[in-house]
């Protein structure tokens, strides 16, 4: 990997980290080491099979009952407590994480370049793990935050991430259509305005995924859902005080 390529990745990490920090400030976070480790197990087993294997994926839990998940550049994935309590099994969790990982893999937040110079490296050198947000990072973070919470990504990006997520999880033995079950339940819920306005219609997504599974021969037989172990962690989260 060339130094220019590493620098471009550092720029991506800086923006992604700042966006994740912005979401953490907005919603608060759930700090439970066992739960976070479990999310890392599932997400990294997916990510190690993906094209952005040079990133060390991080997963955080946002302390909100909204049902949603966010992919920040550089592999910072933020899922909400509401989402984790809504999911029924590990296969559904794997789909959601794989969908977000696919956004990172396909660089749907844009491609980052090297050559932003001085302040990028200064921020990495100060104590506190780079808690510096220069104006360029702040602007990028603001634009991406608006995309995540208000405008949404391009429709084809969301559908691509659904299909890519199915490919990733089927390779691990999960049910490739587990996302459709989760989306069907989401369609009948209220109070998820952020999710609704930032994603294509749920019916379109389900149709696209079902067609893709048939076209690609993605089988659901002998798929694992690991319901029991997911339920253990869901109970842990449900019992955790706010």
């Amino acid at each position: 990997m060339s130094s220019q390529e590493k620098e471009a990745i550092q720029n991506e990490l800086q923006v992604g980290r700042s966006l994740a920090a912005r979401l953490a400030k907005k919603y608060g976070t759930v700090r439970d080491e066992n739960l976070t480790k479990y999310l890392l197990f599932v997400s990294r087993s997916i990510a190690t099979r993906s094209s952005r294997n040079e990133l060390n994926l991080q997963v955080g839990v946002l302390a909100t009952d909204e049902v949603n998940a966010f992919a920040c550049p550089g592999g910072y994935i933020m899922v909400t407590r509401g989402l984790l309590l809504e999911l029924q099994d590990e296969s559904e969790l794997a789909f959601v994480l794989a969908h977000e990982i696919s956004h990172v893999a396909y660089q749907h937040s844009g491609q980052f370049q090297s050559g932003t110079g001085f302040v990028s490296f200064v921020s990495a050198l100060f104590a506190g793990g780079g808690s510096v947000v220069n104006s360029a990072v702040r602007q990028s973070t603001g634009e991406l935050e608006a995309q995540l919470l208000e405008k949404g990504r391009q429709r084809n990006f969301e559908l691509d991430a659904d299909r890519a997520g199915m490919v990733l999880i089927s390779g691990l033995g999960y049910n490739p259509l587990s996302g459709t079950a989760y989306l069907r339940r989401l369609a009948s819920m209220t109070g998820n305005q952020t999710f609704i306005k930032t994603h294509p219609p749920i019916s379109d997504r389900i149709t696209t995924m079902e067609l893709f599974a048939v076209e690609q021969g993605l089988t659901t037989s002998q798929a694992n859902v690991y319901q029991q172990r997911y339920t253990e962690y869901k109970t842990l989260l449900r019992n955790k005080p706010n």
Partner: protein, 163 residues
Amino acid sequence: MKLNPIRILCVAIMLLVATAVGADRTMYIQSPSARLLNAPKMDASGPAIARGTAITQTGEEGLFFRVRTDSGTGYVPRLYASAFPPSQKVNFGTGIDKDTAVKARARASNYSQTVAARGISESQTLRTRSGLQDFDFDSIDWIEHVQISQAEMSAFTSGGIPK
């Protein structure tokens, strides 16, 4: 017909750019379940390709790359290939080459001296100017400090959760 040299030059440049854009590139297989598919479909058949194998991407079809390998041509899912070999990880604040880091430290030192001369602490200045009250980096630091070992990951993928 008289040939316009400027038009010829423009066409030549366009051809060069088109060639560069369409140039083959080396990629590396990331997924342990990758196969060299004989069609751009997940259920197509084909031999397994080992993780870390270098392949040449010659085109794209939807979610698949057209590729060339030592054992022939075919397709792999775009998600299964990367421009980098599997082992190289880049974490935030690392992976910067020595010369760049030295120059950055020299600049940081100059900045610190300037700030100190004005009687303001570095972190105070940066926090005030950058509006850090809008960000929760403490939580991100906490997230990044949660680690899992390779042994724990192996236990997980074989169906158990490490205690």
